[in-house]
C-alpha cells in the first residue's frame, strides 16, 4: 500500500533537516502506529505525504500502490486515496460542513471518472455516517469547524474520512485534546472503516489511543528516523518506561 524509502526532507525556508531517512512499508489492511517524542518528525512526515507546501524532499521516495506520491498535487493524492486527519482541523467561515463534504466528495469522484452524487443521495449517505459519530443535523449545517469543540473537530475529521472512503488513512495525533468518551467515538469510527483492505497510519504520543485502535505494527520515531519497530507490546513499553531508554539505545 504505502511504501516510504529513505525519505529525507527539510524545511524549505530554513533548510533545516527534519526527516533523515525514513523507511516504512504499510501493507494493505494493516494498522501501523508511529510514536515518538515531540520534534521527532512525525507530523512532518504526515504533511509531506499529504503534499503540504514548505517542505523540500531532498532524497528518497514515497509511493501509494506503486504510484509516486511526491510528484502529485495534494488534491491528486487525495483522489488517489490518501487521507490525512489533521491534528488541528482548519476553520472555514461561511462554508457549510455539508457543502464542504459534498464538494470534496464530488471533486474526488470526478477525478476518478465517477458520476457525481445527487443532492438527495449524498444527504442520505452522510446522515447515516454522521449518526454513528453522534454528529447531528445542526453540526452538519454549521460552517466547517467554526466554533466546534476539540472533540467535535476530531469527529468531523473522521466523518470526512468515512465519506471520502480513502484507501490509506493517516491520523495525525487525532487523540490530542480528546476526553475518554470522545476518544472512544473516534476510535469506533476508525475501527468501523477497517475492512481488511484499507490501511492506517496512526500518529500518536500516547498508548491510550492504541487501547482503542489496536495496531498491527508499532514504530518509534526519533530525530527524523524510525529507530525501533515492533508489535503492540512496543507501545506498552513506551508507556511504562518512556522514550529515554529507546533513545539511548538508538544512539
Amino acid at each position: 500500500m504505502l511504501t516510504i524509502n529513505n525519505l529525507h526532507a527539510e524545511l524549505e525556508e530554513e533548510g533545516k533537516q527534519i526527516l533523515k531517512g525514513v523507511d516504512l512499508v504499510v501493507e494493505p489492511g494493516k494498522v501501523h502506529a508511529i510514536m515518538g517524542p515531540n520534534g521527532s518528525g512525525k507530523s512532518t512526515l504526515s504533511y509531506i505525504l499529504a503534499g503540504r507546501d514548505g517542505y523540500a524532499v531532498t532524497e528518497g521516495s514515497a509511493t501509494l500502490d506503486g504510484v509516486d506520491l511526491l510528484e502529485m498535487a495534494p488534491e491528486e493524492r487525495a483522489a488517489a486515496g490518501l487521507f490525512l486527519a489533521f491534528q488541528y482541523p482548519v476553520e472555514i467561515p461561511g462554508v457549510g460542513n455539508m457543502t464542504f463534504l459534498r464538494t470534496a466528495l464530488n471533486a474526488q469522484r470526478k477525478a476518478q471518472g465517477q458520476e457525481e452524487l445527487s443532492a438527495g443521495d449524498f444527504l442520505k449517505f452522510v446522515r447515516e455516517k454522521a449518526k454513528t459519530l453522534k454528529i447531528d443535523a445542526e453540526m452538519l449545517k454549521r460552517p466547517v469547524n467554526v466554533g466546534f469543540s476539540g472533540g467535535e473537530k476530531k469527529r468531523n475529521e473522521i466523518l470526512q474520512m468515512q465519506v471520502l472512503e480513502p484507501k490509506m488513512c493517516i491520523l495525525d495525533e487525532t487523540d490530542s485534546g480528546l476526553d475518554v468518551d470522545a476518544m472512544k467515538l473516534v476510535a469506533e469510527g476508525v475501527n468501523g472503516l477497517r475492512d481488511g483492505k484499507r490501511s492506517f497510519l496512526v500518529i500518536t504520543h500516547y498508548q491510550r489511543l492504541l487501547d482503542h485502535i489496536q495496531p498491527d505494527v508499532v514504530h518509534i520515531m526519533a530525530n527524523g528516523r524510525i529507530i525501533r519497530t515492533g508489535g503492540p507490546e512496543l507501545a506498552l513499553e513506551v508507556e511504562n518506561n518512556g522514550y529515554a531508554d529507546l533513545l539511548a539505545e538508538a544512539n
Binding site: P74, V90, G94, V95, F100, T103, L105, L123, K141
Partner: protein, 507 residues
C-alpha cells in the same frame, strides 16, 4: 423538518455554482459584441447634443430645459479626485452620447421581423424567450403563456430602453414599470414631482452630467398599499463602441407599498475604456419598503488593465416617510474603475437603511465603493455589511459615511467591514467617516482584514478540492451574509460571478 429542505436547496445552489464555473472556464462571459445596426448622434458634448437627446425621446419643453440647466451647471464643475482610483483623463468630447439599435424604429409584427442579433443578445443575457419577444417589441407577445416564475424585465441597450415585459399585468395592480423616456411623456406629473428630488441636478460631477445627457432608464411607481406582484428587473447592456451609457432610474414606493428591484449589467470586451455614469433615485414613503439588488458585471478590462468600464454611479434612496425601509444589496465584480456609494437618507422617524455589498477586484481593477447612512429622523436604524475581496494587483477601498444629525435621537448604526486579500500584490483600504451630533445615538464599526490563508487552502486541497474551486469555496463563504441577502436567482448568478472573477488569482 424545515431544516432538512433548507440544506438540500443550499447544497443544490452551491453545486450548481461550481459546475457552471467549471463550464465557463475563466473568460469574461459577457464579452461578446452584437453587430447590430446602430444609430448614433454625433460625437461630443454640447447643447445641441443635449437638445437632440431630448428631441429623440420626444420630451416636453420643461424636460429639455431641465437638461440644459444641468449641462450649464456641469460646465462649471470639475471632476472629483478624492477617490482612491487612478485612470487616464477622460476626453468627454471623444464619446458618443446617444446610440440606439436601428431595429427599434418600427415595431415588428412577429419574431421573424426582429433583428435576430438583438434576440441572440437577450438569449445570451439569460432572458427567457417570452420576455425576449416582448423586449423585441413583438405585437401580442404579452398574451402568450410564460415559463416559470415571473420577473418583469426592462432592457436598456446602449442609450435606449428597448422594451419592458409584463406591463399589462403590472398595470392591473396599479404598478407603473416602463422606460423613463416613456414616463416623461406619459406621467409628467409624477416625473416632475420626483425627478432630481433625491439626487439634485447639482449633486456631483457625474450626476450632473447624467442629468444633462441621460438617454433612458427605468421608471417604477408603486401606488399606496400595493405589494408589487413580481420582481422588477432591468438589464443594462453597453454594446456600441465609444459610447457612454447614462441611464437614469427613478423608483417611487408610495405609502405602505413594497417592491423588489434587480439590476444586472454587462458590456462587450473592448480595448478602449467606456464611461458609465448612472443615477438611481429611490423615494420611499411612509411604511413602504424597497429592496434594490445589483449584480454589476461590466467588462473589467484585461489582465494588464486595458479597456473596461469606468463606472461612476450615484445611487441614493430617500426614506421620506416614517418607518420607510430600504435595502441595497450589491455584488460588484466588473468594471475597470468603480466609484459608487449607494446611500440612504433616513429622514422619516424609525426609518431603516441597510447596505450589503460584495466588491471583488482582480488583476488591475480598482474599486472605491461603500455607502452613506444619513440619519436625520429619530429612532432610525442602519446596518452596513461590506465584503471587499482583492486579488492580482487590484485596489479595493471601502469608503463609508455614517452621520447622526442632532434630531436623529436614539438612532443606531452597525457597520461590519471585512476585507479579504488573495496574493501579495493587491490592496484593501477602509475609510470610515463617522459624525455623531447627538448624545443618544450609537454607532458601531467593526473591521477585519484577512488573507485566504495557506492552512485553509491546504485543508481543501488535501480533501481533493482543486485550487480554483477551493478559492471559490472560501470566498463564497466569506461573502455568505451578503449572498443570503440577494433574491434566489441573483444569489446563484452572484456565486458564479465570485468564482469566475477570481479565476487565475492563485497558483
Amino acid at each position: 423538518m424545515s431544516s432538512v429542505k433548507e440544506i438540500e436547496v443550499r447544497e443544490g445552489v452551491d453545486r450548481e455554482t461550481v459546475e457552471k464555473v467549471a463550464a465557463l472556464s475563466g473568460k469574461y462571459k459577457h464579452g461578446w459584441e452584437t453587430e447590430i445596426e446602430t444609430e448614433y448622434a454625433p460625437k461630443g458634448l454640447n447643447t445641441d447634443i443635449v437638445r437632440l437627446i431630448s428631441e429623440k425621446n420626444g420630451e416636453p419643453a420643461w424636460m429639455t430645459e431641465w437638461r440644459l440647466q444641468a449641462f450649464a451647471r456641469w460646465q462649471t464643475m470639475t471632476e472629483p479626485k478624492w477617490a482612491m482610483v487612478n485612470y487616464p483623463e477622460i476626453d468627454f468630447q471623444d464619446q458618443y452620447y446617444y446610440a440606439r439599435p436601428k431595429s427599434m424604429m418600427q415595431k415588428p409584427k412577429s419574431l421573424d421581423e426582429v433583428d435576430p442579433k438583438l434576440l441572440a443578445t437577450y438569449a445570451k443575457l439569460g432572458i427567457p424567450l417570452k420576455e425576449q419577444m416582448i423586449l423585441a417589441g413583438v405585437d401580442g407577445a404579452e398574451d402568450m403563456p410564460s415559463e416559470g416564475r415571473k420577473v418583469a424585465v426592462d432592457a436598456v441597450f446602449d442609450s435606449v430602453s428597448v422594451g419592458t415585459t409584463f406591463k399589462e399585468e403590472l398595470k392591473k395592480a396599479g404598478v407603473i414599470f416602463c422606460a423613463i423616456s416613456e414616463a416623461i411623456r406619459e406621467y409628467p406629473d409624477l416625473v416632475k414631482k420626483y425627478l432630481g428630488s433625491v439626487v439634485p441636478v447639482t449633486d456631483n460631477y457625474y450626476a450632473t452630467l447624467n442629468s444633462a445627457v441621460f438617454s433612458d432608464g427605468s421608471f417604477v411607481y408603486i401606488p399606496p398599499g400595493v405589494r408589487c406582484p413580481m420582481e422588477l428587473s432591468t438589464y443594462f447592456r453597453i454594446n456600441a463602441e465609444n459610447t457612454g451609457q447614462f441611464e437614469r432610474t427613478l423608483i417611487i414606493a408610495d405609502k405602505g407599498s413594497f417592491v423588489s428591484y434587480l439590476e444586472g449589467c454587462t458590456a462587450p470586451k473592448r480595448d478602449q475604456a467606456q464611461l458609465h455614469a448612472a443615477v438611481v433615485e429611490i423615494v420611499i414613503e411612509e411604511d413602504a419598503e424597497v429592496k434594490y439588488s445589483t449584480v454589476q458585471n461590466w467588462y473589467p478590462g484585461d489582465e494588464n488593465g486595458k479597456g473596461g468600464i469606468y463606472n461612476f454611479v450615484t445611487k441614493r434612496a430617500d426614506c421620506r416617510g416614517d418607518r420607510a425601509k430600504v435595502m441595497w444589496t450589491q455584488v460588484e465584480t466588473g468594471s475597470a474603475v468603480t466609484w459608487k456609494y449607494p446611500s440612504c437618507i433616513l429622514r422619516g422617524e424609525a426609518s431603516q437603511g441597510e447596505f450589503y455589498s460584495i466588491a471583488i477586484t482582480n488583476n488591475m481593477q480598482q474599486a472605491d465603493t461603500g455607502t452613506k447612512m444619513v440619519h436625520l429622523g429619530a429612532n432610525t436604524r442602519s446596518r452596513i455589511v461590506s465584503k471587499g475581496i482583492s486579488a492580482g494587483q487590484a485596489q479595493n477601498t471601502y469608503r463609508g459615511l455614517v452621520s447622526m444629525h442632532p434630531k436623529a435621537k436614539n438612532s443606531r448604526n452597525y457597520t461590519q467591514c471585512d476585507s479579504l486579500l488573495i496574493g501579495d500584490k493587491c490592496g484593501a483600504h477602509t475609510v470610515p467617516y463617522i459624525e455623531v451630533k447627538n448624545n443618544s445615538s450609537r454607532v458601531e464599526h467593526e473591521a477585519t482584514t484577512s488573507k485566504v490563508d495557506d492552512d485553509q487552502m491546504f485543508y481543501c486541497l488535501s480533501r481533493g478540492i482543486g485550487e480554483e474551486e477551493a478559492v471559490a469555496l472560501i470566498v463564497n463563504g466569506f461573502c455568505k451574509e451578503v449572498l443570503q441577502a440577494l433574491p434566489m436567482e441573483f444569489a446563484m448568478e452572484a456565486q458564479q460571478l465570485v468564482a469566475i472573477s477570481l479565476e487565475g488569482s492563485v497558483g
